[in-house]
């Protein structure tokens, strides 16, 4: 009989667990009765301060704040956020899982062929080559032939490097695709010579120096910008209605200064119009 009792306890435990899990899943399905169309935003979870998870595990960052402000101006839509790693955001857009991709996307030709870009930018994005502070032998992409440069799958920096390599097939840059790496890994790798360079914005190097440099300039940007661009929200091809609505709201946020304020609050400077 004792054995039987144990079985019951075990079965009961499993049922409880299952119940807990099921109710956990069900929670998300609420709050769709207001009549507003649901728009799913896909963003990342490890690009501080743009999109990351805060202390309690909730999404935070610039992308989130901007889109929340956009949502407030658009009563006909209701935004919901889905996070994944960077490489998966655009695939999710492609697969129809999300309606807007928000991950500091710069415009480039290949992306433009496949997705619909917003017309209204929400941050400038000027990227440079970034190297360790005391390095002086690298001035441009040409100096990196045969050397290792860190990038990640699906990023604009990968696009820039691959485009460069297409024209320099004899001695290409070695591209290291490191997906979902943390800032700590980036800094460590650059400092110890795992990679000779990477591509990032000067505000990213400032951030890294502040967090890991203890006041010194451990990482610096060099030379002319590799690309001067801005970032846009990305939509599925043909979804012009949503794109126009979001663009309209963004424009309003720019005009009334809200966007600049969010940028100052979160990124630490107004990067909405120019550097």
């Amino acid at each position: 009989m004792k054995n039987r009792m144990r079985h019951f306890v075990f079965a009961g435990f499993l049922t409880l667990l299952l119940g807990a899990v099921l109710t956990g899943c069900g929670k998300k399905e609420t709050s769709t009765g207001s009549g507003a169309a649901k728009v799913v935003i896909g963003t990342g979870n490890s690009y501080e301060p743009y999109c990351y998870l805060d202390d309690k595990g909730n999404l935070a960052g610039y992308e989130y704040e901007v889109l929340k402000a956009v949502d407030e101006l658009l009563p006909e839509y209701e935004f919901e956020f889905k996070t994944s790693d960077f490489a998966n955001v655009l695939i999710s857009l492609d697969a129809g899982k999300i309606d807007i991709g928000a991950h500091q996307y710069e415009w480039n030709k290949e992306r433009d062929e496949k997705y619909l870009f917003g017309k209204e930018s929400y941050t400038t994005y000027v990227t440079y080559l970034a190297v360790v502070g005391d390095k002086s032998d690298v001035k441009s992409l040409d100096d990196l032939q045969g050397k290792k440069v860190k990038s990640s799958t699906g990023s604009n920096s990968a696009y820039i490097l691959e485009t460069y390599n297409k024209d320099h097939k004899d001695d290409p840059i070695k591209i290291d695709y490191v997906n979902n790496s943390t800032d700590e890994e980036t800094v460590t790798g650059l400092l110890n010579g795992v990679w000779d360079a990477t591509i990032m914005t000067s505000r990213d190097t400032d951030k890294l120096n502040k967090n890991y440099g203890e006041g010194k300039e451990v990482i610096k940007v060099i030379g002319d910008p590799v690309q001067t661009s801005s970032t846009y929200f990305v939509f599925a091809k043909g979804n012009t209605k949503l794109q126009e609505a979001v663009d309209g709201a963004l424009k309003q946020l720019k005009e009334n200064g809200t966007l600049a304020k969010i940028s100052v609050d979160i990124i630490g400077g107004d990067y909405t119009e120019s550097e």
Binding site: A87, N88, L90, I91, D94, A95, G96, E110, R111, K114, Y115, K148, K150, T153, G154, S155, A158, Y159, E162, D176, Y177, V178, N179, N180, S181, E184, E185, T188, G189, N192, G193, V194, D196
Partner: protein, 236 residues
């Protein structure tokens, strides 16, 4: 979502180009695993004092760690400490000469040593104790008994488990892409970062892996027949 055959083909070619990387990520750990795994298994089965116990604890604990997590930690330490280590060993190498595929090989080797030692240990335990006694009674030393009597009998028993280990290694090797080593999956998705056809990339990777493991398993079937040839089996 449309499936683009052109992109799929491109991904297939790219993925195959990185097959050699996957091969070294599988076969180096396999050789290391077989060597050290067999030693650990023997040490444990023949109950060598202290070392046997230490090995048992190490294998049991280490097998609880997911390879991805171990890999991330090793990579971080590798990036931070390799130059110090090289200086300490008076190696004329710095980290930029090193390919971090070695970090992947190290992480996979550690896992392979543990799982192969378990497979070999299981096979050793399946052999009747009387076989040892028979060896001793005709005047063989322990080493001779192990080499001439135990190991030949153990091999056919261990092979199916070892094949599982090889297949496991092939699949586990894909996680090294998390630290930027380009193997089949990462290779197959390289064109995707230009074409944004990631789904095609993953399908291509799946096809390559599937083909790879099917080939390994069919080779294993043959090997099994061959090594089992001299084994009397009442049921066959």
């Amino acid at each position: 979502m449309n499936f683009n055959l052109e992109h799929f083909k491109e991904s297939l070619i790219y993925g195959l180009a990185y097959l050699p990387n996957t091969l070294s990520l599988v076969f180096v750990p396999l050789v290391i695993g077989l060597t050290f795994g067999t030693v650990i298994a023997l040490v444990r089965v023949y109950k060598v004092p202290v070392i046997g116990w230490l090995m048992a604890v190490f294998v049991t604990v280490y097998q609880g760690i997911p390879i991805v997590v171990a890999l991330m930690i090793y990579n971080l330490i590798f990036m931070l400490k390799f130059n110090d280590l090289a200086a300490f060993l008076h190696l004329k190498k710095s980290i930029s000469d090193m390919n971090n595929i070695w970090v992947g090989i190290f992480a996979l080797s550690m896992a392979a040593v543990c799982s192969i030692s378990e497979a070999v240990r299981g096979a050793l335990l399946s052999i009747d104790k009387g076989q040892n006694e028979a060896g001793y009674s005709v005047g063989l030393t322990t080493i001779q008994t192990i080499r001439r009597i135990i190991i030949p009998q153990m091999i056919p028993v261990a092979i199916p488990m070892l094949i599982n280990n090889v297949v496991g290694l092939i699949k586990a090797s894909s996680v090294v892409m998390a630290i930027g080593i380009v193997e089949i999956v990462a290779g197959a998705t390289i064109p995707s970062s230009r074409t944004y056809s990631f789904f095609e990339g993953y399908v291509a990777a799946a096809v390559i892996y599937w083909g790879f493991t099917v080939v390994v398993e069919s080779l294993a079937q043959r090997l099994k027949k061959y090594t089992g040839k001299f084994r009397r089996n009442l049921y066959d």
